[in-house]
Amino acid sequence: MTTRHVVVVGAGPAGLAAAEAALAAGARVTLIDSADRPGGQYHRMLPEAYGAARPERLQHGWWAFDRRRRRVLTHPRCAWWPETSVWALERPDPTEPGVPRVHVVRGPADGGRRSRLRLDPDALVLAVGAHDRVLPFPGWELPGVFTAGAAQALAKGERVVVGDRVVVAGTGPFLLPVAASLLQAGSRVLEVLEANTAGTLARGWARRPWQLAAYGGKAGELAEYTALLLRHRVPCRVGRAVVEARGDGRVEEVVTARLRADWSVVPGTERTAPVDAVCVSHGFSPQLELPVAAGCTLRSAPGGEFVAVDDDQRTSCPNVYAAGEITGIAGAPAARAEGALAGWLAAGGVPDALALRPLRRSRDQGRAFAERLAGAHPIGAAWPEWLRPETVVCRCEEADYASLCRAAGNAASRGARVAKLETRAGLGPCQGRICGPTVAELSARLTGRPAERPAEGIPAAGPHHRPIAQPIRLGELAAAPEPLPGNTESHPSM
């Protein structure tokens, strides 16, 4: 039997665990990440040039991660491809789905002289993670308004803090580590605002508390952040949100307000606070362009759309597996468990191996956690009340709410795609990654029709359909792909 070749896209908690398990099952692995160091979002590493003596200070579970990355990256059957972006997945024959061909460019981000390569693996593990979802509000396009993830990435990844009078707002437990990172870096966090009310949180979290206890690692981590916030006397308010950012050329103050359970503003509760930065997150959006390009079926869940997987992390496409936050937002421990299962099975490991039992259990706990998370931190239906006619909805094209309403009112223009052409919303450089779900939701409401969704089995023309998943320059595209480097090539730098 020849050794199976497994390509893993993404070296975050899920991808790294997948690579490790696939190696353990005997496969040859190519581990790809567009970043120059492994770790993904959760284990974002400092640059090598920082020569950090105590990197564990910034990370939960640093030592376990450090051991795993060394084990994987130095393994003789593993080729580690950092600074490598998968820009397309090509299905060999649409009528006869096989493992998609993986097209990559290797080299500095968005550089014009990167080398173009392609891989034809026996199995593919997609572990490309998620990014913050941020709802629009007046002034959210001002410099100084960051996603919570941006603040986290800058603090953890290069020790840059976004400001010294910061409000952290939105919904979800992720707000806590972000506030904690800012405090540890010496910033002043004025307040942490959770938009959902105490009632919503209690109903979401208190249901079936034993599930939460089983997911103890995450609960302990969150308790630590809460203790840190208490120590620094940072007020954490529930049922309150940033509903406007103001300033001349940059954010100078925010307007916060009390919210009802549906996120409508309680009149008269508005307060302004001078700030130099705002960090906002209303949840996470999975990066679905590669799964959609591969032809994977999506599923709708309370928190949005995700890649549908079975109990073995298999997607609807043969030999394509998915793991981590693209299958549901459940945090790093669940991503690791999913990754390990996906990697083992993608490599042809036996599905009933004894060692898989704790992984499956941990994955199932993660799924239960994801459900509760989505239940406790929903996006309230009345959030569009925050919008004004001139509020920018699509950041790239600066399409405002009024133009979206006009497009919706025009009987000829129904559906997100038409709205897109009329308003240019979603047609800018980010290709609708930021505004896509919002535009789809607003259009659906304004027209009274359900949002367009990729239907089962049909290559989606929906919001995640981006034939070119990562930018590639014409010059790079015109160049013929280079022959593959040696199969077991491994990179010295980790």
Partner: protein, 122 residues
């Protein structure tokens, strides 16, 4: 106040700083090895460096390569995500502007960054 880098002496992670210098629209800007171009710009007190279609200022929003707000030109190469590209000593960075009337023409083959419908980018 503006974004800043945590001082190395007081940083709990115990790290070194290897200085580097880039230019931004001709002006020298100091950073340290390992920083992204966005990190260098932010830590030097620049919160915004790109202009949108209306002329509105933009800088970093998502920080991880998703929103394309932070695009800059590096050594003549347009549309580089500053939050993803590591700075190198001597990098020549120029800022970008999407205002229809404001820009200078660039080579259309270079400008057409596939995956970015950037024709009107100037």
């Amino acid at each position: 106040m503006s974004p800043r880098r945590v001082r190395a002496e007081s940083d709990a992670v115990g790290r070194q700083e290897l200085p580097l210098r880039i230019t931004v629209d001709g002006e020298p800007v100091d950073g340290i090895a390992g920083q992204t171009i966005a990190g260098v710009l932010l830590a030097s007190g620049r919160l915004a460096w790109r202009r949108g279609r209306s002329g509105a200022p933009r800088g970093v929003f998502c920080g991880i390569g998703v929103c394309f707000d932070c695009l800059v030109t590096v050594g003549g190469e347009r549309d580089v995500r500053a939050c993803r590209r590591r700075a190198h000593d001597g990098d020549v960075v120029t800022t970008q502007n999407r205002q229809p009337e404001a820009g200078r023409a660039t080579d259309p083959t270079e400008r057409k960054h596939l995956g970015l419908p950037g024709e009107e980018d100037r």
